[in-house]
């Protein structure tokens, strides 16, 4: 404890040297922190922008396939697939929405999209029952519909004398980021029912009694709508789907790969810069602490002469190094915070959404502190070794 007290007294008396070392630390750390913060902020903003739209992770099959449930079922177990739904034939994609109201009735045509449990377009945990739908915001506005309203999905086939009318409840209005234009999402069973109607099957529970019995129907799916679990998984899932099903697909793979590649390149550039800066910092601190220990040999020799054991004397430069590091880190993070606030004022409008220009996580901050302390401790070992080897008799004889 006495050594620690003495080391602190000496450190704060020798303010100029302390300030030099703190300046060295801050001079290296602040630019690195800002680089890391900006990289995090800009990159996370781009990633966030991509992820805010579920369509980024969407893979659609192209062309007219004839997939069976037996072919689709194994895909549901792929770990990189977050959600998957079959698609019916595209010529039956449009339905009319009929909403009776006091002033008359509203009727609009809309694109009918399949959904199911786990669909990223729906709020987490929401599952639409067969008599529930989710509407695009445009459609909801145009038809003055809100959640809880009961309407009808209406479709008409040229070959059939009667309309198919499916009563449904509006369960959810989708956000703009998920659905633009006029679209309605319903459980896949609803789309399957519409396709069966067009294929001339009887649907007696909806009043369509003419046609072939539904039990004879062997469903075939024209394609799939798949959502990858992550941006990194999008490309591999797309490749695997094409390879295993033998069909073409479309996805925003190139755009996602470009952003991910940018992240990797930024990481690489930051890593190289950090490695060079760290090497320079370690060398500067090593020689700085060592020369300081040499400069203080007289004091260390006097303390040794008075009875402080060499092992305690070795603590002297280590304590000073740790305190220097702590002060250097505190100053560096304070300057970083100032720079981040300034950057937020100057550049925030250039980023999508509310994303901050710079961002540093607690784990990152903790890792940086631990790394700097480790570098400082390693650098201080040389001066500790020097302090341990001070020969009081010889040093005092030399007049230090």
């Amino acid at each position: 404890m006495l050594t620690v007290t003495l080391a602190l007294r000496d450190l704060f008396r020798d303010r100029l040297f302390l300030l030099c070392n703190i300046a060295v630390l801050a001079g290296v750390l602040v630019p690195l922190l800002i680089l890391l913060g900006v990289k995090n902020g800009v990159y996370e903003a781009l990633i966030g922008q991509l992820l805010s739209n579920p369509a980024t992770l969407q893979i659609d099959t192209q062309g007219n396939a004839e997939l069976t449930e037996a072919e689709i079922a194994p895909l549901r177990d792929w770990p990189d697939i977050a959600f998957l739904t079959p698609r019916t034939r595209s010529q039956f994609d449009y339905v009319n929405l009929y909403a009776p109201s006091e002033g008359g009735a509203a009727l609009r045509e809309a694109l009918l999209l399949p959904t199911g449990p786990g669909d990223p377009n729906l709020p987490p945990g929401m599952v639409l029952a067969e008599d529930e739908i989710a509407l695009s915001p445009l459609l909801a506005r145009q038809m003055h519909l809100t959640e809880g309203d009961v309407i009808e999905l209406v479709t008409q086939a040229e070959t059939r004398p009667k309309q198919l009318r499916l009563p449904v409840t509006v369960r959810h209005i989708l956000p703009e980021t998920v659905a633009t234009g006029r679209s309605v999402m319903a459980d896949f069973a609803v789309l399957d029912r519409v396709e069966a109607f067009y294929d001339n099957y009887a649907l007696p529970e909806y009043g369509v009694t003419e046609g072939r019995p539904l039990a004879e129907r062997q469903p075939r799916f024209e394609g799939l709508r798949v959502y990858a679990r992550s941006l990194e998984g999008l490309g591999p899932v797309q490749e695997r789907l094409e390879a295993e099903l033998g069909i073409g697909t479309s996805a925003r793979t190139r755009e996602v790969a470009a952003v991910l590649g940018l992240g990797r390149n930024l990481d690489l550039a930051l890593g190289l810069t950090s490695a060079l800066a760290t090497t320079g910092l370690a060398a500067a601190l090593l020689f700085g602490f060592w020369s300081d220990a040499m400069r203080k040999r007289g004091v260390l020799a006097a303390l040794g002469m008075l009875g402080i054991p060499p092992r305690s004397l070795a603590l002297f430069p280590v304590v000073q190094a740790v305190i220097t590091a702590v002060l250097g880190l505190a100053l560096s993070f304070a300057l970083y915070a100032g720079a981040a606030a300034m950057a937020a004022r100057m550049f925030a409008q250039g980023l999508p959404g509310e994303a901050p220009v710079t961002r540093l996580d607690w784990p990152q901050g903790t890792a940086i502190c631990a790394a700097v302390l480790a570098i400082v401790l390693v650098a201080a070992l040389a001066s500790a070794w020097s302090a341990l080897r001070v020969d009081p008799a010889r040093t005092l004889r030399e007049g230090h």
Partner: protein, 246 residues
């Protein structure tokens, strides 16, 4: 700690510096509590080396006798054997700090501590804290007015007096002073020497001091251990000591 005796018998040490080798031997010596011994000799005769040997700052060669005795003459600590644990052993450092007080030529004050903190330092190192004694010594050595100053604000004479106070603060058995007046003018040297001997005598502390000032030693009638060195081979110097009555 005072009232202990030092016993030396056939104690030798050596110092090598490049091709030069300096060897020093002291046949026999016993220092009683409160006694003052002057170490004399020409420059390079081994006075400082002897004081380092005595103060556990320099390792003796094997075979000699160096021990701390109690008032009855019983061996309390074999000081020579402490070196067997290595020069960096805590026991060696603790014994050095506890048994001896040092007044080096340069003063060797700690620059970042005030006068009062410097004086109290030996007490803190040895765990014998006694603020009253620190202030008593400061008062006795005329340092009360400057007790809050740092060493760089003191004259050389004041620094030596602080060094003396520090050497006595923890009640060591012996004070080792290496030419404590070498850097002082006549008046200051007289004052410092008188204070050292007077304070040590009052405290019952043994004092071993080296000096070139034979006239002053004569006036103070101090017994002397006189060192004489001679070349005994190429680059090899051998120094021996003999007691001289005052």
């Amino acid at each position: 700690m005072p009232n202990q005796r030092l016993r030396i018998g056939q104690l030798t040490t050596a110092l090598a510096d490049g091709d030069r080798r300096f060897r020093l031997a002291v046949e026999g010596l016993e220092l009683a509590p409160g006694a003052v011994l002057a170490v004399t000799g020409a420059s390079g005769s081994g006075k400082t080396l002897f004081l380092e040997l005595l103060g556990l700052l320099r390792a003796p060669e094997a075979g000699g006798d160096y021990a701390l005795l109690d008032a009855a003459g019983r061996e309390v600590t074999n000081l020579g054997a402490l070196w067997a644990r290595g020069a960096r052993s805590s026991a060696l450092a603790a014994t050095r700090g506890g048994v001896f007080g040092f007044v080096p030529q340069s003063g060797a004050l700690i620059p970042f501590l005030s006068v009062v903190q410097n004086v109290a330092l030996t007490q803190r190192v040895t765990g014998r804290e006694d603020a009253g004694r620190v202030h008593l010594l400061l008062d006795r050595l005329g340092l009360t007015a400057v007790k809050g100053l740092r060493p760089d604000a003191l004259s050389i004479g004041q620094r030596q007096r602080v060094s003396i106070a520090r050497a006595l603060a923890h009640r060591p058995a012996f004070v080792i002073a290496d030419e404590p007046t070498a850097a002082l003018d006549q008046d200051a040297a007289e004052t410092v020497m008188a204070l050292l001997i007077e304070t040590a005598t009052i405290e019952g502390v043994g004092v071993i001091l080296s000096s070139h000032d034979v006239d002053r030693l004569d006036r103070l009638a101090l017994p002397r251990l006189h060192f004489v060195s001679q070349m005994v081979g190429p680059g090899e110097i051998f120094s021996t000591a003999e007691m001289q009555a005052c």
